[in-house]
């Protein structure tokens, strides 16, 4: 307990996050290996990991940097396609090890996400507020439509790329049609595993928490809290913002690869505004800047529609009602105060005057 007191608030929050993730992983992994986990839950483990990475990476932009991005699914899409192309070509060229393919794929996806994030960030981050949100949304749509018009084949002579012809290879027998326009990538071997997902989540969390306590992270948070003050003490706003945005896009790219390789098909229409908004909902529900909140919101909101299958036709209606209810309740100050009071009475929490200030 004494040791805990020496830690800063940020350190406490990060160790709590690590602990929750590791414990949750250990429980789920044990349940899975012992076979007592339902097929439904087993099937959702990898997508949950991917959505967690998406949520925390968007939280970096929305919560830490304080800018609203509505195009995060676009970076996920870029990463998913780039990484899967790498994985499929490695497979075509006889790379047997699924683990190696996945690791290389995720790295390629992260790099691709970072490059696109950087390029899009150059014009976008010069904007503020609503404008920024709308422009990111537009870029995500552009990415979606561009990929829908790409055709990429691989044969013994290498890659053939076109945005006009459906197939460009001369040898249809042995070629692998990688991207088939709007039908995306088909025949993907399912290589994403829960362990890989867990490792990715942990790596992303470590990077984010280190970033937050780094010089850059603190500078970015100071820009969020007071842009003018930050500018006046000579913090180069654009530089720090684009670093954060690129980092966030890289993480989204990695999440895309993990997600894509959990299914046998990948289409770019999946990464539309709905997916971007879904990830934003994770962030808002979990609390802006609160990584653990994002993780829990991503998990809960991925599982929720599946748990509600019992309601058949009314499933999505009930999902929406629950979502609205949770948003309202978690933002109701009276309820919050009552809840806090209860916690103080139960001595689970210190009275407000003892608590440290600042945002978690």
């Amino acid at each position: 307990m004494k040791k805990m007191k020496n830690l800063t608030k940020a350190q406490k929050s990060s160790s709590l996050t690590y602990a929750v993730v590791i414990v949750a992983f250990a429980i789920m992994f044990a349940l899975k290996t012992s076979g007592s986990l339902s097929s439904k839950m087993t099937g959702m483990l990898v997508p949950i990991c991917a959505y967690i990475v998406m949520a925390v990476s968007l939280n970096l932009v929305v919560g830490i940097m304080g800018d609203l991005s509505l195009g995060h699914a676009g970076f996920m899409s870029v990463g998913a396609f780039a990484g899967t192309i790498a994985i499929v070509s490695m497979q075509y060229n006889g790379v047997e090890s699924a683990g190696l393919r996945l690791v290389v794929g995720i790295i390629v996806g992260a790099i691709a996400g970072a490059i696109i994030g950087f390029l899009i960030g150059i014009p976008v981050l010069r904007l503020n507020g609503d404008y920024l949100a709308i422009v990111t949304l537009a870029f995500a749509e552009i990415i979606k439509v561009l990929i829908q018009n790409m055709y990429l084949d691989l044969d013994e002579n290498g890659f053939h790329f076109s945005m006009v012809e459906n197939t460009n290879t001369t040898n249809l027998e042995t070629a692998r049609l990688i991207i088939e326009g709007p039908m995306g990538i088909r025949g993907i071997t399912k290589i994403s595993t829960f362990v890989a997902g867990f490792i990715l989540v942990m790596v992303v969390l470590i990077v984010i928490f280190h970033f937050m306590s780094s010089r850059t992270g603190r500078a970015v948070m100071s820009i969020r809290d007071n842009r003018i003050a930050a500018e006046s003490v000579g913090i180069p706003i654009f530089k720090y913002k684009i670093t954060t945005f690129t980092l966030s896009a890289a993480m989204a790219g990695a999440a895309g690869v993990l997600f894509a390789n959990n299914y046998s098909t990948l289409i770019s229409a999946k990464f539309n505004i709905d997916t971007s908004i879904l990830v934003l909902v994770f962030v808002v529900l979990g609390g802006q800047g609160n990584m653990l909140g994002s993780i829990i919101a991503a998990t809960a909101l991925t599982i929720l529609p599946e748990i509600l299958r019992g309601f058949s036709d009314y499933r999505m209606l009930i999902y929406a009602i629950i979502l609205i209810a949770v948003m309202l309740i978690s933002n109701n100050s009276q309820l919050k105060a009552a809840f806090d009071g209860l916690l103080i009475k139960l001595k689970l929490k210190k009275a407000p005057d003892e608590e440290e200030g600042g945002k978690a």
Partner: protein
């Protein structure tokens, strides 16, 4: 406060997961009480019951439910049918499939649409779950999977069949194609049609594509056809976009011969559609709601009573699927206490050797690659009704 809430939520989640586990056990228990003639087989299905493709999923659901009621009324072994929503999305379809597995599904009446079908059939192949799809027509659904079968034609068959039909009947001097480039079904037919047309030296002069996002306005595509002097337009697509094409072509006074495939079936029952616009449309389809057989009349009557609409080919395919599964179960002698893997092996053997008579064709047989063999009929729309050609 935030931390405490977070921990509470985490606890709640673990509880939810545990609750799912309990539910599964309860279901497993109830499956064991069945025996003898009262055997109950659990048949799962997924399809888009919500979202943009919901009309297809709803048709499949209604068609299958009618068939299930009928086979259960015959006595003998029973089917317990459970159809889950996949919203035409691969991720949700896999979730729905896993949900059905937890429910205790013993074999599956496929996915309704192709893109989710590819993802789910890969899972079904890995799990050795018998899979018969009513309407997922892409070849990627069945490719390399010995336990996956189709009730509908594969897309290539429709493409080559249409080109062959045009060639044999000497139709169209200038042929145009409008296709949907983000749809497996449309692209599959389009690609094989184009290849076959080139082989038969059909004169294809214009091609125009559209996507889901642009499927509300076809003035550009129609204009393109008109400018190229096209007199026969091939429409490998479902009837919803086709209805708009007809309306917009009629508005500009363009009247070529329209040629559709099985997805065109159902256009006459489309709400708010002026059937006069579809006058003279030719379509190749294995099913027509006005077929004269007593089985079909019975089906149409029940379907109308259930949904208030005429059945389309999706509903008929689903109806046939249930009967084909019923016949295969009957012939293979599998019992409800067998595991889904054992049932799968037995059904695969029976399926590739049996012959089946249904609404969508007679003497249907299945090849080991999962394709069905049945012949399409050319229909033409005359006076607001399908007439055989």
């Amino acid at each position: 406060m935030k931390k405490f809430l977070a921990v509470m939520l985490a606890v709640a989640m673990v509880f939810c997961m545990a609750a799912c586990g309990d539910k599964q056990e309860a279901n497993d228990g109830s499956a064991n009480i069945t025996d003898g003639a009262g055997m109950v087989f659990k048949v799962g299905a997924t399809g888009p019951l919500t979202g943009g493709a919901a009309i297809y999923g709803q048709a499949v659901k209604a068609g299958a439910e009618i068939a299930v009621e009928e086979v259960n009324a015959m006595g003998g072994f029973q089917f317990d049918f459970n159809m889950q929503d996949d919203a035409h999305d691969a991720e949700k379809a896999v979730n729905a499939y896993n949900d059905l597995k937890d429910w205790g599904m013993q074999f599956m009446m496929g996915t309704t649409t192709s893109a989710p079908g590819e993802a789910v059939s890969a899972e079904a192949y890995a799990d050795r779950m018998f899979f018969l799809t009513p309407s997922a027509s892409s070849t990627d659904v069945i490719k390399g999977k010995d336990n996956v079968f189709q009730m509908c034609f594969t897309d290539p068959n429709q493409g080559t069949g249409s080109a062959q039909y045009m060639y044999e009947h000497n139709m169209g001097t200038n042929i145009g194609i409008i296709y949907k480039s983000d749809d497996n079904y449309s692209m599959g037919v389009y690609n094989t049609f184009k290849a076959k047309a080139a082989e038969l030296k059909l004169n294809v002069v214009a091609e125009a594509a559209f996507t889901d996002a642009t499927s509300t306005d076809f003035t550009v595509q129609v204009k393109q056809m008109q400018d190229a002097g096209v007199d026969l337009v091939f429409l490998p697509m479902y009837y919803t976009p086709a209805s708009l094409i007809f309306a917009q072509a009629a508005a500009t006074g363009y009247t070529p011969t329209w040629f559709g495939i099985d997805g065109m079936d159902g256009i006459l029952t489309l709400e708010g559609f002026d059937t006069a616009l579809a006058e003279g449309v030719i379509l190749l389809t294995p099913y027509s709601a006005d077929a004269d057989s007593s089985e079909n009349k019975n089906f149409v009557e029940k379907y109308k009573a259930k949904t208030g609409e005429l059945p389309n080919q999706f509903a008929a395919d689903a109806y046939d699927c249930i009967y084909a599964l019923w016949k295969a179960v009957d012939q293979s002698g599998v019992t409800a206490d067998m595991s889904s893997e054992e049932i799968c092996e037995a059904l695969v053997k029976t399926f590739t050797s049996m012959s089946f008579n249904g609404l969508t064709g007679s003497n249907m047989t299945w090849a080991t690659d999962g394709t069905v063999s049945k012949s399409p009929n050319a229909m033409v729309i005359k006076n607001g009704a399908y007439v055989g050609m």
